[in-house]
C-alpha cells in the first residue's frame, strides 16, 4: 500500500533515493545516514572491506556531491563504520566498531579529530555503534559490546553513561541505534533483546517498546529508532524487514513494508541505459524490489518526513506523515 492509514495517522510513500554502486552515484550496504542542511544527506556505506567503503554526500534531490573517507586505519579512514551523526556546525561524527573510535570530520570530509580507547572501563569503547547529538552538541554513543550508553562532549570527554549486560530495565544486549526526542529523552534499539528502551536524558528507564499480544507489533533485532514531533516512535525492525510505528505510550500503530514501486532517478537512468534490464523488469513481478530488505536506520526531518535506509537494497525510502489527508470515497 502506498498509503497506510492507521490510528488517525496517514503515512504516504513519497519516493526513494539511491542505487547500488561501488563508488560515486549510489550506495553500498548503507549502515546509517544523517540529514544535513539544505537537503544534504550523508550516507555511511559499509561497502566490502577494502573497496567501496565511503560516506556518500548527496542531496535529497538526487544530486551526488562527493565521496568522503575510505577504508583504513589512518586519520579520516574507517574499517567497520557503524553510525553517523551531525553537530550544530554540521560536523560529521562517525563510529567505527572495529577501531573502537569516533572520527570527527567537517562537512566536506576534512579530518578534524578522533577519540576513543578500546576497553570496558568508563569512557572506553567496545564496538561503538549508534550516535545521537543533543542540543548542546554532546554525543550519546551506544557502546554496543559493553552493553551500555555513554555520553561524551564533542571532544570525547566522558560526561556519564548507563547500562549493563542483561534483559532487565536499563540493561542491554548488544544495543545498536539511538535517538533523542524533542524533550531530550533517549531511545535505544536494544538489538539482541528485541526491543527499544526509552530513558530520561540522564539514563533513567522510562518504558520499552517490544511486542504486542497478537504478535504483529513484535520487534526482531531492531537496529534504528526515530521519534517525530508528535512523539510517535519509528523502529527499523531489521529482522522482520519492516518499519514498526508506535504511539508515544508504546501502543502499536502499524508496520510499513516498503513501497519503492517507482525507481529512484538514479535507478531509472540505469534502466534507460540498459535495454536488457528494462526488458527483464517487464517480464517479472517486481514486488520483491519494492519491499524493505534489511531496513537498518530511520530518521525524520523537521516536517516529520520519514527516511528509511536499507542495507541490502542500497537506498533510502521516504514517507510523509500527512496532516490534511481526506479519506477517498470508500465506494469509489
Amino acid at each position: 500500500m502506498l498509503t497506510t492509514i492507521a490510528a488517525g495517522r496517514v503515512f504516504d510513500y513519497s519516493h526513494c533515493i539511491g542505487m547500488y554502486s561501488t563508488s560515486g552515484v549510489g550506495f553500498l550496504a548503507p549502515m546509517d545516514f544523517a540529514l544535513g542542511s539544505n537537503g544534504t544527506v550523508y550516507v555511511l556505506n559499509r561497502g566490502v572491506d577494502e573497496i567501496t567503503l565511503r560516506i556518500s554526500k548527496c542531496t535529497l534531490e538526487h544530486e551526488f556531491i562527493s565521496d568522503i573517507g575510505r577504508y583504513g586505519v589512518a586519520d579520516g579512514q574507517f574499517v567497520w563504520p557503524m553510525a553517523i551523526a551531525l553537530d550544530s556546525n554540521e560536523n560529521l561524527y562517525v563510529s567505527d566498531e572495529n577501531l573502537n573510535r569516533i572520527t570527527v570530520m567537517d562537512k566536506d570530509g576534512q579530518f578534524l579529530n578522533k577519540w576513543g580507547d578500546s576497553g570496558s572501563d568508563a569512557g572506553q569503547l567496545r564496538g561503538p555503534s549508534g550516535l545521537a547529538v543533543d542540543s548542546d552538541d554532546n554525543l550519546y554513543v551506544v557502546d554496543s559490546m559493553n552493553h551500555r550508553v555513554q555520553k561524551f562532549t564533542g571532544e570525547g570527554q566522558l560526561l556519564g553513561g548507563w547500562g549493563s549486560e542483561g534483559s532487565g530495565p536499563g540493561q542491554f544486549c548488544k544495543p545498536w541505534g539511538i535517538c533523542l526526542d524533542g524533550n531530550g529523552s533517549v531511545y535505544v534499539a536494544d538489538w539482541k533483546n528485541d526491543r527499544v528502551q526509552k530513558f530520561s536524558a540522564d539514563g533513567r528507564f522510562v518504558a520499552e517498546f517490544k511486542e504486542t499480544s497478537d504478535g504483529v507489533g513484535d520487534l526482531n533485532r531492531p537496529t534504528g529508532v526515530a521519534v517525530d514531533s508528535d512523539g510517535d516512535v519509528y523502529v527499523a525492525d531489521w529482522g522482520n524487514h519492516q518499519v514498526k510505528i508506535y504511539e508515544p505510550d508504546g501502543k502499536f500503530i502499524c508496520s510499513l513494508v516498503g513501497d519503492a514501486e517507482t525507481p529512484s532517478p538514479w535507478v531509472q537512468d540505469y534502466i534507460d541505459a540498459n535495454p536488457d534490464v528494462a526488458k527483464a523488469r517487464r517480464r517479472t513481478n517486481m514486488e520483491v524490489e519494492w519491499r524493505f530488505n534489511r531496513p537498518i536506520s530511520v530518521k525524520l526531518d523537521d516536517e516529520n518526513r520519514l527516511y528509511v535506509a536499507e542495507a541490502v537494497r542500497h537506498r533510502i525510502q521516504v514517507y510523509t506523515k500527512e496532516k490534511e489527508y481526506a479519506e477517498a470515497a470508500i465506494n469509489l
Partner: protein, 467 residues
C-alpha cells in the same frame, strides 16, 4: 582421563567429520566417548549452525552480494564457526559432488542458497536430496534444464544426473539419458528482477506443465509416463547408485581414491569397505545419516588416519581453527576465501561439473608452497590464542629433551603422526637449541620462540598435508 589413543582417534574423527578441533575439545569429546561423539555429529540442531544475525550485522554485504568473493567468504565464515561440523562438512561434500559454478550461474546469493540446501538436506536421504537438487535454481541454470523443453530436449542435466551425480559411467545407455531428459522437461526457474541496480534477487523453481512431456518413457528397463520424481525414484533403487555414492563418501571421508573418471575401469582401493557402505545404503533406503554412521564407526575408517590429502578448504579452515583467531566476526575472512582459491579450490567455482580432482592432485609446486606458507605463518605466531594454548600445553609438560619437545609438539598440533625420516629432521632442528625449559622469563621466552619455529616446521611436513 582419555588415553592418548582415544585422543588420536578423536582427532581423526574431527578432522574428517568436521574441520578439526582444539586440544581441549578433543579431550572433552574423547572423555564422552567415540560413539557418543559420532552420534552427536549425526544429530545436529535444525538451525544452520551459526548466529546469522551476528553474521549479517557485521557483514551486511554478504546478503544479496554481487561479488562472488562475498559468497565464498560467508561460507568460509560458516565452516570456521559452525556449531554443527558434520552438517557443514556434508555441505562441502555435496558441493564437491554436485559441482556447480558461479562462473556460469553468475549469482553468488543463489550459489549460497544451493549450499544452504546441501546444509539442510545433506544428511537426510538421497532421493529427497536429488529431488531438491533437480529443483535447485542454480543447478537448473548450471546444467541448462531451463532450456530442456517438451519436443526439444536438452540432455545436459539428464546426462550429468546419471554420469556424475548418481550411477556413474557404464551403467546406463544414451537412450536412458534422453528419456530422463524428457521426464525433466518443464522443470525450470521463474523470472526474477535483474541483479542491478538495487542488488541481487533469488530465483525460484517453477514447473511449467505446458512445457512438460507427459508421454510414455522407457528408463533403465522401466516403462511409464515418468516425470522427474519417478526418474529419481528409479535411479536411487539401483545398486550402481549405492556403489557410486559409497565410493564418493569413501573418497571424501576415508581415503583418497583414483579420480572419478577412472572409476569405471579401476576398482576401489577397499572393496569390502565399499560393500559395507552399499549394504547400509540398500538396507536404510538410501538414508545418508545411516550410511555415515556405518562409515564413522567402521574399522576401515578408524584405521585410515592421514590417508586423505586435505582439500584447500579443509587445510585453510582447520588451520585457522587451530590458530583460534577467526572464531568471531573480524576483518580478514575475505583473505581466507581467496586463500582457498589460490591453493586450488575456489569455492562455488569448480573447474567443471566434474568437480575438482582430489587427493594428490590438490598438490602441485605452487599449491604446496602456498599451503605450507599459510599454515606455517599462522602456527608460528605464538600470540594467537590457539598457538598460545599449544605453548601452554608444552609448558605443562615441564622441561623437555629435544626428542620429547618434538613429540609433544606433534601431539599437541594433531596428534600428527610422522615417519621416522620426518621425525629425525625435526629432531635435528630441536637439538640445536638443547632442552626446552621454563625456569625463568628468559628461558620461557626462548622456549616459546622455539615452539613457534617447531610448529612452523611441522606445518611444512608432508604429514601435515594429510587429514
Amino acid at each position: 582421563m582419555p588415553s592418548q589413543e582415544d585422543i588420536a582417534l578423536m582427532a581423526h574423527l574431527m578432522r574428517r567429520a568436521g574441520f578439526g578441533a582444539s586440544r581441549a575439545e578433543l579431550e572433552e569429546r574423547a572423555a564422552r566417548g567415540y560413539e557418543a561423539t559420532v552420534d552427536e555429529l549425526l544429530n545436529p540442531g535444525a538451525d544452520s549452525g551459526i548466529d546469522e544475525d551476528e553474521l549479517y550485522r557485521y557483514f551486511p554485504q554478504f546478503e544479496s552480494s554481487l561479488a562472488p568473493v562475498a559468497a565464498q567468504t560467508e561460507w568460509v565464515y560458516r565452516m570456521v564457526n559452525t556449531r554443527w561440523p558434520l552438517k557443514e562438512k556434508m555441505a562441502l561434500f555435496w558441493h564437491q559432488l554436485f559441482a556447480t559454478g558461479n562462473s556460469k550461474v553468475d549469482n553468488p546469493p543463489e550459489m549460497l542458497a544451493q549450499v544452504a540446501m546441501f546444509r539442510e538436506e545433506g544428511m537426510s536421504n538421497f532421493p529427497n536430496l536429488l529431488v531438491k537438487l533437480a529443483q535447485n535454481p542454480a543447478m537448473i541454470y548450471w546444467l541448462d534444464n531451463n532450456g530442456n523443453h517438451y519436443g526439444s530436449i536438452n540432455e545436459n542435466w539428464g546426462r550429468e544426473l546419471l554420469e556424475l551425480f548418481s550411477m556413474g559411467v557404464g551403467h546406463y545407455s544414451e537412450d536412458d539419458i534422453k528419456e530422463a531428459s524428457r521426464a525433466f522437461t518443464g522443470w525450470t526457474i521463474g523470472a526474477k528482477p535483474p541483479r542491478q541496480p538495487v542488488g541481487r534477487f533469488y530465483w525460484s523453481f517453477e514447473f511449467r506443465p505446458e512445457d512438460h512431456d507427459y508421454g510414455q518413457k522407457e528408463f533403465l528397463g522401466n516403462v511409464g509416463n515418468f516425470d522427474g520424481d519417478d526418474i529419481i525414484d528409479i535411479i536411487v533403487k539401483q545398486e550402481d547408485t549405492a556403489r557410486f555414492l559409497a565410493r564418493h563418501l569413501y573418497n571424501f571421508f576415508v581415503a583418497d581414491e583414483p579420480q572419478v573418471p577412472a572409476w569405471n575401469i579401476t576398482p576401489p582401493n577397499d572393496q569390502k569397505a565399499i560393500d559395507s557402505l552399499v549394504k547400509a545404503y540398500m538396507e536404510s533406503g538410501a538414508d545418508i545419516n545411516s550410511i555415515l554412521r556405518v562409515l564413522f564407526n567402521s574399522d576401515f575408517f578408524k584405521n585410515a588416519r592421514f590417508a586423505h590429502v586435505k582439500s584447500p578448504a579443509e587445510l585453510v579452515v582447520s588451520t585457522v581453527k587451530m590458530a583460534g583467531n577467526y572464531n568471531q566476526p573480524r576483518t580478514g575472512f575475505t583473505q581466507l576465501a581467496f586463500e582457498c582459491g589460490w591453493q586450488g579450490q575456489e569455492l562455488m567455482n569448480p573447474p567443471s561439473v566434474e568437480s575438482w580432482h582430489t587427493g594428490s592432485e590438490w598438490i602441485d609446486g605452487g599449491a604446496l608452497v602456498r599451503r605450507v606458507n599459510f599454515a606455517a605463518k599462522l602456527l608460528s605466531d605464538t600470540s594467537l590464542p590457539g598457538v598460545k594454548a599449544i605453548v601452554a600445553g608444552l609448558k605443562e609438560r615441564g622441561t623437555l629433551s629435544p626428542a620429547e619437545f618434538v613429540r609433544a609438539c606433534l601431539d599437541l598440533v594433531g596428534p600428527v603422526e610422522v615417519d621416522e625420516g620426518t621425525f629425525q629432521e625435526l629432531l635435528s632442528q630441536a637439538q640445536q637449541g638443547g632442552d626446552i625449559s621454563w625456569d625463568s622469563e628468559e628461558t620461557s621466552a626462548d622456549s616459546e620462540r622455539r615452539a613457534g619455529v617447531m610448529l612452523a616446521l611441522i606445518a611444512a611436513t608432508r604429514e601435515f598435508q594429510f587429514a
